[in-house]
Symmetry: C2
Subunit: 201 residues, 2 copies
């Protein structure tokens, strides 16, 4: 039996979105499952001293251009949202709640729907009501989702998930851990494939 | 006639070293010349607020591992030097002086020798006398190199080169500009190849 691939991402991270659109197919090719872990880069950056890409001098404008170019290069629909970056606590908690109540398959479908709504359709996923709407469109109970994603246990769960991620060395999005080997960034897919193919890298 | 590829790098940057080992062959494949521009990340970071990778929490330990892994993946000899990172003013100025006096071909050979001495043989290139020795091994006049690399005009030239790089948006190493299109990082080689092949990306 092979272990699952741990996939860490922030819903406001374009490179996380690109990875989210590819990770399941990549894992399936090598008979692996994927564990999806929403995190909050804002919290991570309190530990690492990192900052949101678009805010950085020179690197910010470059990143905005690179998002579009990388999306085009990989054939992934992308349009920089009007609100970017934005807080993703609501989206992350909602995904955890969906996972708790409906299991990982629906949670992953929900995560992909949230990412696509944000980066392909421009929906402001910083607004909890928009996040609830995405769940509603999938057939989830809006009231239960709205209450659940804002509940104390789910808030605590997200905090604990992020602590756990930090303890494992996660500092960015996307971040992938396979058999103890860590990969940061959508541009490590070639090395990930080498590891999955050869069992080592 | 096609324009040259502008290649910016810091002699203390492992990813810059990897790119330096590949850029000429890549460019030649598409009939392009490469203009080699040594820069100092320490100066660049004063503008961008960046910091040396190894100093960053979580990201630092990851980077040290990723250097080794990426070198292995691409078949490039690499051993993390005992002194890392280190000041590269001397190496950068020496390369400019070699370029001024012997032309680009010898300057590039010198740059590759400096990078290899540092990242494959562990030579401390922060010591000017070691930089001079690398030039001497290539048949350059040690006294002229030692004096030239420390001269006021060459110091001013490096400052001006870095200002020009910043004005063009350079914020890291390696950084490549082709026909106005900017690429940061050794992991953009696939997109660079696409641009060189198709004339657009």
């Amino acid at each position: 039996m092979v272990s699952a691939i741990d996939f860490y991402f922030d819903f406001s991270s374009p490179y996380g979105y690109f990875a989210a659109m590819r990770i399941d197919a990549l894992a399936a090719k090598y008979g692996r499952q994927v564990e999806w872990h929403p995190i909050l880069l804002g919290v991570v950056f309190q530990t690492t001293g990192g900052a949101p890409l678009p805010m950085m001098p020179l690197k910010g404008p470059y990143a905005l251009h690179d998002f579009e170019r990388t999306a085009r290069f990989h054939g992934i629909p992308f349009k920089l949202p009007a609100a970017f970056p934005l807080p993703t606590q609501g989206a992350a908690r909602a995904m955890l709640w969906v996972n708790n109540h409906y299991g990982i398959e629906r949670a992953v479908a929900f995560a992909k729907a949230v990412y696509t709504a944000y980066f392909a359709a421009g929906v402001n996923i910083g607004e909890p009501m928009n996040v609830v709407q995405i769940g509603t469109d999938m057939g989830l109970d809006p009231q239960a989702l709205a209450t659940g994603m804002d509940s104390a246990p789910v808030r605590d769960q997200l905090k604990a998930e992020i602590k756990l991620a930090l303890a494992r060395g996660v500092f960015g999005s996307p971040f992938v851990i396979i058999d103890g080997e860590a990969f940061w960034g959508f541009d490590r897919v070639d090395q990930i494939e080498a590891l999955l193919t050869n069992g080592k890298i």
